[in-house]
């Protein structure tokens, strides 16, 4: 579980996060939703220590992350798999080398063991036998799937995903959502997905935090979301006619 307590973050005079507290639960897909500029990505980057914050605390299964020294933080980070918005694959490496990279850095596995693990991860994301493709040869959906394969190669305890569906067609987006949910349940990991895609919310939202103006405005699950009486949440989630109809019919 990742516990966030009373996080405050300012960029200059601009208060981006105001007293944000939330528990991201293990074995569930935890969603951070909100409009662009609401503070979602900032919160995600704070969680992994890429941004500092002004007040509050973050703990990974009881270990206070913000009180750790850099070396200790690096050890915690080795337990985190991160899926970036653009994939962040190393473009001078092949698919196989990308997935093998964390194994080479942090394990003493033999080459055969590493290849076996790479093939397992590729199979898990339905990209078998694509080992030797270069990142420039991959489609948007494939990049995301290779990035997921890389992030699970080290058996992470935590999986953080920043806008996993951005730039993908609806069919591929659903595939990625399903994959994230399956991996979360299969390995019983704490997954955090940062999204503003309402299809994702309805598909995989086990535990949802809605951020508005830098504050946690609402929290619950996808069923509660449909019946929630919250003006700002309504305006955000049910902005499209389709979702408005869905809410009326429910």
């Amino acid at each position: 579980m990742i516990e966030v307590k009373n996080i405050h973050k300012k960029f200059g005079d601009n208060l981006v996060l105001n007293d944000v507290s939330f528990n991201f639960q293990r074995g569930k897909t935890n969603l951070i939703i909100g409009e662009s500029g609401s503070g979602k990505t900032t919160l995600l980057k704070i969680l992994i220590g890429l941004y500092s914050f002004d007040k509050g605390s973050i703990s990974y299964d009881g270990r206070i992350f913000n009180e750790m020294k850099l070396k200790e933080k690096r050890l915690v980070r080795q337990e985190i798999g991160m899926l970036f918005q653009g994939g962040a694959l190393f473009d001078y490496m092949t698919v196989e080398e990308n997935i093998k990279f964390p194994l080479t850095m942090f394990t003493n596995q033999t080459e055969e063991e590493k290849i076996e693990r790479v093939n397992f991860c590729l199979k898990r994301v339905n990209l078998e036998n694509q080992n030797n493709l270069r990142t420039s040869e991959l489609s948007g959906g494939m990049i995301k799937r290779v990035a997921i394969a890389r992030s699970i190669s080290m058996n992470p305890k935590y999986l953080l995903c920043d806008e996993p569906n951005s730039g993908l067609d609806p069919k591929t987006a659903i595939l990625i959502d399903d994959l994230i949910k399956e991996i979360t349940e299969e390995y019983n990991i704490t997954t955090i997905v940062n999204t503003h895609d309402m299809n994702s919310v309805m598909q995989i939202g086990d535990n949802i935090a809605f951020i508005h103006n830098g504050e946690i405005w609402w929290e619950g699950n996808k069923e509660e979301l449909i019946h929630a009486e919250n003006k700002e949440l309504d305006e955000f989630v049910f902005a499209s006619k389709l979702f408005k109809r869905l809410k009326r019919n429910s």
Partner: protein, 250 residues
């Protein structure tokens, strides 16, 4: 002024991160070999071409400048030798390589920064500054002197052929390059090349590592890296010349 001081502070903070022990020796050696290819081997062609023609031009210019019965023909060899060893090979080549290698380093690291590849390294628990920059710095300070020796040799060959084309006999040119030779000049040249190698790679890496935004900003960072590397090289050229040459009496 404040921005300048902030840049200097950030540079030293980054260098503090760079100068740490590599996480895994085998991976570091692989990176090291890759950098030899990218930085040194890819520069050999340009070093040979530039050194040859500059050597030839220096010899021809000296022949016409010193066309007096008071100056024997061997003076052409002597002047070419000293010009190439003292200034052309270390400083001019340093400035040229600041353009070629410096812009390539900034673009590479800057692109990795804006596409979140550096963030991906950090989240894996890797010291990204050390992983990316240390091999570049070590390769350049170890192998730049070799490039400079190559440049000196080719420059003198160019001078010989240039001299031959205007009628300086080979025997006179060889006498010139041996006449009153001070071996310490080569040491001085190599000391300068090591300092310039460090400046080029560290300053270029700094601008790449701190790039933000998109492709246009990476381009701007590359330009800045080349400009500032060149200025710092010229300043250190003056300081080193004053310190080293004024310290010895002939």
């Amino acid at each position: 002024m404040i921005k300048g001081l902030q840049n200097i502070g950030d540079y030293f903070i980054m260098m503090n991160k760079v100068m740490s022990r590599p996480e895994k020796r085998s991976v570091f050696l692989k990176q090291f070999n890759l950098e030899i290819m990218k930085i040194i081997l890819s520069s050999i062609g340009i070093v040979i071409i530039i050194s040859f023609f500059i050597g030839a031009v220096v010899a021809i210019q000296q022949y016409f400048n010193l066309s007096s019965p008071l100056f024997p023909d061997y003076t052409i060899g002597l002047v070419t030798r000293d010009a190439v060893i003292l200034e052309f090979a270390p400083t001019m080549l340093g400035l040229i390589l600041a353009g070629k290698i410096g812009s390539s380093i900034t673009s590479e690291i800057g692109t990795m920064r804006v596409t979140e590849q550096i963030d991906a390294l950090e989240i894996m628990g890797i010291n990204s500054a050390s992983f990316l920059i240390l091999p570049k710095i070590l390769v350049s300070i170890i192998f730049f002197p070799i490039l400079i020796i190559l440049s000196i040799s080719i420059g003198i060959i160019g001078g010989w052929l240039g001299g031959l084309s205007v009628g300086v006999p080979t025997s006179q040119f060889i006498l010139g390059i041996q006449y009153e030779f001070i071996p310490f000049y080569v040491t001085y040249s190599l000391i300068k090349s090591i300092v310039f190698a460090f400046i080029i790679t560290s300053v270029s890496s700094y601008y790449g590592y701190h790039a933000s935004g998109g492709a246009i900003n990476v381009g701007k960072a590359s330009t800045k890296a080349v400009v500032y590397s060149s200025i710092i090289i010229l300043i250190f050229n003056y300081i080193l010349t004053d310190l080293i040459l004024s310290g010895i009496s002939f």
